[in-house]
């Protein structure tokens, strides 16, 4: 059921996130070419797409651009999951959550109901 997620965007973001410093397209290209043959323009297009999506920012450095991640991987993940778990209107039509959000005092009553049951079973078992 799970599809492989090895898209070029993911490979590029993986590298930029783990390096943590601004990089030129050529550096990313050279690293990616350890694994597969890629054209410079392909990597440039991918990185420009990521910039337009707000994942990367860039600044001019001499003749080339230097790219860096707009957010760290942790910040990006936290923002995304925050949105998913808050169950906003955007995701409500798409996702089925195992649990809806539960206020802390309700969690306690869930636990009590379960514990009562488990204790009841234990007292019957022996």
């Amino acid at each position: 059921m799970v599809r492989p997620l090895g898209t070029l965007e993911q490979l590029v973001m993986d590298r930029i996130w783990s390096w943590g410093h601004p990089v030129a397209v050529r550096e990313v290209l050279e690293d990616l070419q350890h694994e597969r043959t890629l054209a410079y323009t392909t990597v440039m297009t991918v990185m420009d797409n990521l910039r337009r999506k707000g994942m990367l920012t860039r600044e001019k450095d001499g003749r080339a651009y230097l790219y860096k991640a707009a957010q760290t991987r942790e910040q990006h993940t936290a923002a995304f999951m925050g949105e998913v778990l808050a169950g906003g209107a955007d995701t409500a039509v798409t996702l089925l959550h195992f649990l809806e959000h539960i206020p802390p005092e309700e969690v306690a009553s869930l636990r009590n109901a379960l514990d009562d049951h488990l204790q009841g079973r234990k007292s019957i078992a022996p």
């Binding site: 059921m1 799970v2 599809r3 492989p4 997620l5 898209t7 965007e9 993911q10 973001m13 994942m55 991987r73 942790e74 990006h76 993940t77 936290a78 995304f80 999951m81 925050g82 998913v84 778990l85 808050a86 169950g87 955007d90 995701t91 409500a92 039509v93 798409t94 996702l95 089925l96 959550h97 195992f98 649990l99 809806e100 959000h101 539960i102 206020p103 802390p104 309700e106 969690v107 009553s109 869930l110 636990r111 109901a113 379960l114 049951h117 488990l118 079973r121």
Partner: protein
């Protein structure tokens, strides 16, 4: 003229009394599948009663006959007769407009919602591609996150997503139960059940019946998935997984005060002895739902079939005497 009136009364009664009746029928929880069917039948019956009330105003009762030529002739005659009086024309036009508005609203909301859902699904998959990793043992994606959560992304490219906190909060058997629950959602296309209810709620925001239907369907779909999961592990494991996920899921401030009752009813249901509906009650429920669904159609066509024995207009009257 009685069909539109009966249909309108039926629709109003259904909208006002139906949700209260179904909400009180707690035995529906014993068979979530029948519960889901009941709420769906209520919604469909309500929409079709309103739709047919409009249509039966627009089109007067036309006698049924197998003679196609005669049918078309009488059809034309009755419609001409109806629209030739000023009052009749106004009534018919109102009915036609009402039916059209209902149909257009439902169609628009369904299409708009499906488009939005498809776009969101793609956005979700793209985002997951960047931050999630496939789990080595389980058929799921894992996202590093401190709040325990499990959810699924239905439709094309369907995925089950677990947070790293969920992985550490649950043991192996509890994880299998959660995965079985999510797989039940995906296999049963529960998203479509909820999407249809969502669209109806959006199409007619003032009708509380659709709002109640959406909430109840959300609950029943979870119970159905719980039952599926319990068949693969056991009910206590599913209940434990539920409680542990609740304990380790941090509640965002925005969502405070929302929900909770549904989770509690799910836990209570899982830990109480299983009492599936008997065959008799299931048959009875199915029969009742069938009747509920067919009442609007029956009321709409009854005047037409009653009109059959009578010569409906002079043309066919002459034809009969010859």
């Amino acid at each position: 003229m009685t069909a539109p009136a009966v249909l309108t009364v039926f629709a109003v009664a259904l909208a006002l009394l139906g949700p209260a009746l179904l909400s009180r029928a707690s035995w529906l929880e014993r068979s979530p599948r029948i519960g889901i069917a009941a709420w769906q039948a209520l919604s469909v019956s309500l929409v079709s009663a309103a739709l047919l009330a409009g249509l039966s105003l627009a089109v007067p009762a036309i006698p049924w006959t197998t003679d196609l030529g005669q049918l078309i002739r009488t059809c034309a005659m009755t419609i001409v007769a109806q629209y030739s009086t000023p009052g009749g024309a106004v009534v018919s036009a109102t009915g036609a407009a009402a039916a059209l508005v209902i149909l257009a609203r439902v169609a628009y909301c369904v299409v708009a919602d499906r488009t939005l859902a498809a776009r969101n699904r793609k956005a979700q998959l793209d985002a997951l591609a960047l931050i999630a990793r496939p789990h080595l043992r389980y058929d799921a994606l894992v996202v590093e996150h401190p709040a325990a959560a499990a959810y699924c992304l239905p439709g094309r490219g369907r995925q089950i997503v677990l947070t790293s906190a969920a992985l550490s909060a649950l043991d192996h058997s509890q994880l299998l139960a959660v995965l079985a629950h999510e797989r039940a959602h995906l296999r049963g296309r529960h998203d479509l059940i909820l999407a249809a209810a969502d669209s109806l709620q959006r199409a007619f925001p003032r009708i509380a019946a659709f709002r109640t239907a959406r909430t109840e369907l959300g609950r029943l779909v979870e119970m159905l998935a719980d039952d599926n999961a319990a068949r693969q592990s056991d009910r206590t494991t599913v209940a434990t997984a539920l409680v542990r996920l609740a304990e380790h899921g941090m509640t965002p401030v925005t969502a405070l005060g929302a929900g909770g009752e549904s989770a509690l009813s799910r836990v209570r249901r899982l830990i109480s002895p299983v009492r599936p509906l008997g065959a008799g009650r299931t048959t009875l429920a199915a029969l009742a739902l069938g009747i509920l669904l067919s009442v609007p159609v029956f009321v709409a066509i009854a005047p037409a079939s009653a009109a059959t024995p009578m010569p409906p207009c002079p043309v066919s009257g002459q034809a009969l005497t010859m």
